[in-house]
Symmetry: C2
Amino acid sequence: MENIKHKLLVLSGKGGVGKSTIAVNLAVWLSMQGKKVGLLDIDIHGPSIPKLLNLNGKGVQVLGDKIKPILYSNTLKIMSIGLLLPDDSSAVIWRGPMKHNLIKQFTSEVDWGQLDYLVVDSPPGTGDEPLSIIQLIGNADGAVVVTTPQQVSIVDVKKCITFCRQLNLPVLGVIENMSGFVCPQCNSKIEIFKSKGGEQMAGEYNVPFLGSIPIDSDLVSACDSGKPFVQFNTQSPTAQALCLAFSSLLKTEKTQSNKEK
Amino acid sequence: MENIKHKLLVLSGKGGVGKSTIAVNLAVWLSMQGKKVGLLDIDIHGPSIPKLLNLNGKGVQVLGDKIKPILYSNTLKIMSIGLLLPDDSSAVIWRGPMKHNLIKQFTSEVDWGQLDYLVVDSPPGTGDEPLSIIQLIGNADGAVVVTTPQQVSIVDVKKCITFCRQLNLPVLGVIENMSGFVCPQCNSKIEIFKSKGGEQMAGEYNVPFLGSIPIDSDLVSACDSGKPFVQFNTQSPTAQALCLAFSSLLKTEKTQSNKEK
């Protein structure tokens, strides 16, 4: 872990808000900026990263006492329990201590090499997995917190910010996903899951707001087919919203680390 | 637990698919059919039930060695860790063993009384919480598995069905939530998260398909304002889709229990 310059955790109090989508696109975007990047998926029960990058069926090699991560590209290394399972439908029926041991292996026995950034995709909640990674990863730069705009999601994400504060993990910012929807037939803007909830909450908790990502059925299709949106749909407004949010994130991170110096 | 006739678990491999929305509406619908119902929320990190039923701020009483559940109505009793927290933003930063102890208290020390149905809303995944409840609850009738139609969700839900089978918990059926969207401006049908994925998966795994629930921004608003849809929006097509799915569920349950006899 000491060969890794920056460590970013993608967190959320709530499932299904698009954490893995954000984590994958952030990692791919960073690697497209010329950075050496690792993407670590610590969602043990529902690992989505292999599907989102179309890596299913790619096996992981063990060389000596080191596990070789899968290369998505020359500058992007991936590790996920999904790469170790025999098939899609295999369930990992584990309690906390076993999950802790696996996360320990992922941080200490994977051959990450020299990295500019490690992006960690964590499952929802404030339990074993996020606790373990924060303890095991050492000094993380901070957390990117993902939410959707509706109140039922905001409630859980507030808990996530409380969690970060109690563990002294800086919150680098909030991304509001699934924010508004533009009907592709009539161009009306429909607020299916509302909008602005994430922005208001960020203001209330005095954490940076990084941007809103609209609901986009093309993004859903891209996820299902394993083609990261920021790489394959560069011209779409949704991809541009993602890139803008990631640029804001790097700016916040820089300001924060300058302050610390 | 022996005073409870039927025990139904609402499960999903994936977060954010609407498990809590389905659990709340199922419990309210059963109570509207004249049944005595309990609704137990075992999502320790992100309890949504108090918000979905507008119960925030209602305290729980302890009488002798029994915890009194909150009454939503004369025939519907509720228990959730959300009812025990000082406020919305409090995070429960617990590892597995503490979560197991709380779920044990919820099953053994809550004064549920005589119930026709206990509906349990579980967090996503195949880890501590669903493992604990299945072990502690005794003979459950089975699981209602909730998914959304897109492949990224289906992958996790397959794991959930594998989990049920390994633990000998009958799968009573699959509900496909967020299935298609009708633009309220132009009435075009837009498949934001696709559709039919849940139905196909149910066929593939030979488990009953209970029905599809469309994406409906009125349902999102109802969740945020704590007004269960099947009670307050009885005429809406979405509420009718929910009621149809619940009727199918009871039919499946009956057939299954007749087979066992």
